[in-house]
């Protein structure tokens, strides 16, 4: 299935408030979705028989400091004559955003998909997809560690590559390395790690 078809399926299910346009169609098409819809969309993409994206190939975090905010989508109006007069759109202000890109693959149908979601840098909350693909466990921890994105619902969101008491998130463009590093013994703790594998979504069969 092509990315356009998949996007149509997603819009059917979730509506246009959550599923936005396809980005960079000439390079590698990515469907932009709202952060709040990530978990539901993930379950839908994995569960539906004709989609069945059972492998999360990669979960990358991006820091896009100068991205201009997208204008809000206007609702469809049936009768043009009733449309209010178009006002000149003000220049969109650049805001600092973080992005998460999911690259999915289906072994059954051999098609790939890229999903992208943007969050504001001061409130970077994205639902965790660990319940759908356990592979997301460490990827999300790394995205949290390096970029500071909070994945809601992740059972053990702690730093993975850096020491537990490191300050700051290095891959952000405005990161400044700390001048000194003082070991903070209380921060480096070994908490009791509960089992981190929630129930996975049942895999779809190809003939559904």
């Amino acid at each position: 299935m092509t990315t356009e078809d998949i996007r149509d399926r997603l819009i059917e299910e979730f509506g246009e408030e959550s599923i936005f346009a396809i980005l960079q169609t000439e390079i590698e098409p990515e469907i932009e979705i709202a952060a709040g819809a990530v978990l539901d969309a993930a379950q839908f993409l994995k569960g539906q028989g004709d989609l069945s994206f059972d492998v999360l190939m990669c979960l990358s975090a991006l820091d896009v400091p100068t991205l201009a905010k997208k204008p809000k989508r206007k609702p469809k109006i049936d009768d043009e004559s009733e449309a209010p007069p178009q006002e000149a759109e003000p220049e969109p202000e650049p805001i600092h955003q973080l992005a998460v890109v999911y690259h999915l693959f289906s072994v059954v149908h051999k098609h790939r998909l890229a999903l992208k979601t943007f969050v504001a840098v001061d409130e970077p909350h994205v639902p965790s997809v660990i319940a759908v693909w356990p592979a997301a466990d460490w990827h999300e921890r790394e995205a949290f560690d390096m970029m500071g994105i909070q994945f809601d619902g992740h059972p053990f969101l702690k730093r993975i590559l850096l020491p537990d008491d490191w300050e700051g998130h290095p891959l952000r463009k405005d990161y400044e390395t700390q001048e000194t590093y003082d070991v903070n013994d209380e921060a480096i703790l070994v908490p009791k790690h509960t089992t981190a594998t929630p129930e996975p979504v049942a895999p779809a069969t190809a003939d559904e």
Binding site: E30, V107, A114, V190, T197
Partner: protein, 392 residues
Amino acid sequence: MISNVTTDSRTGLETREMVLNMGPQHPSTHGVLRLEVVTDGELVVKAIPHIGYLHRCFEKHAEALSYQTVIPYVDRLDYLASMNNDLGYAIAVETLMGKSEKTKIELSDRVEYIRVVVAELNRIASHLMLLGTFTMDLGAITPFTWLFRDREYILDLFEEVSGARLLYNYIRVGGVSYDFPPGFEKKITDFIDETLEPHMAECDDLITFNKIFIERAADVGVVSSEEALAWALSGPMLRGSGVGFDLRKDDPYSVYDRFDFEVAVGDGRYGPIGSCWDRYYVRRLEIDESIKIIRQALEQMPDATEPDEVRSAIPKTVRPPEGEVYVRTENPRGELGFFVRSDGSANPFRIKGRSPCFCNLSIMERLSEGCLIADLITILGSVDIVLGEVDR
């Protein structure tokens, strides 16, 4: 500390779980990995891997370099399979550049075949290393020296073609750095015919079908195929569980679609499918398949039509169009993916290396529940981790 005290109901004896630390320095963690092992005597309750001891901020460095100069850093990700890393990265950048007519790169056939030959040789060297260290972890010390002896020949060949034994900086964006020296193809075929194949037969005699080895490895660390896909395992970890997915066949890149080779899949002949022995055997068979590919590539490789042909397509500055791609290739350890985002300048905006070992190691905690400490070593060995890749 995690130590549960339980009281045995029959005898009233208190038993306590023991927390052991394997690593970061330990003979068999294959690098600086720390496994926090909670055991109940000899039985492992949970083994939690802690990584990050070899984190060298590759991704942050890459943002300050130019695309070609990232290549030595990419070498050092999976330092046992540098050619494959280089290849993956070069193909990712070339794919991104190919999206715009202005920056498209046309690679000559000779370059493609050279890349395939060195990548497959490096795959053989990497698998020899794994077969040796895996069996050494299980106590058979001799296959380690035999297989390393053969790996030394490959490293000599690489030294001849690129100047370095382990970290080559050989495959560049748009070509390779040096052509094969005269007589090199014959050296490779001589090595394969006279040294590698007879030695692999010896190694099979000694260890691959040894009863003790099979008993140690064939019931242990079983990963089902659904789990393998859910945890995004790749490479021999995935194929050992019965899923016959190999990027060289199913999503071919470079000139891999011109070769005739099989995909080695675990068949569970000595135990459940997806055991450590299956993964070991998949890697053993992959050496044979790589030999086939090398032979075909050397036969099909065209001669150089002009001097310095291998460098002629390398652009002066690598400046991909704005955009982001995710391109994946088959590393000896699995699916190596590069997520490259360019903002139109000569420095990458963001490079994320999706290393196969990072994903393969994440299943370690699940696999370790309920095994014995000796099994823990076996499982860890069969995952075939290289910490440079896990931590980047």
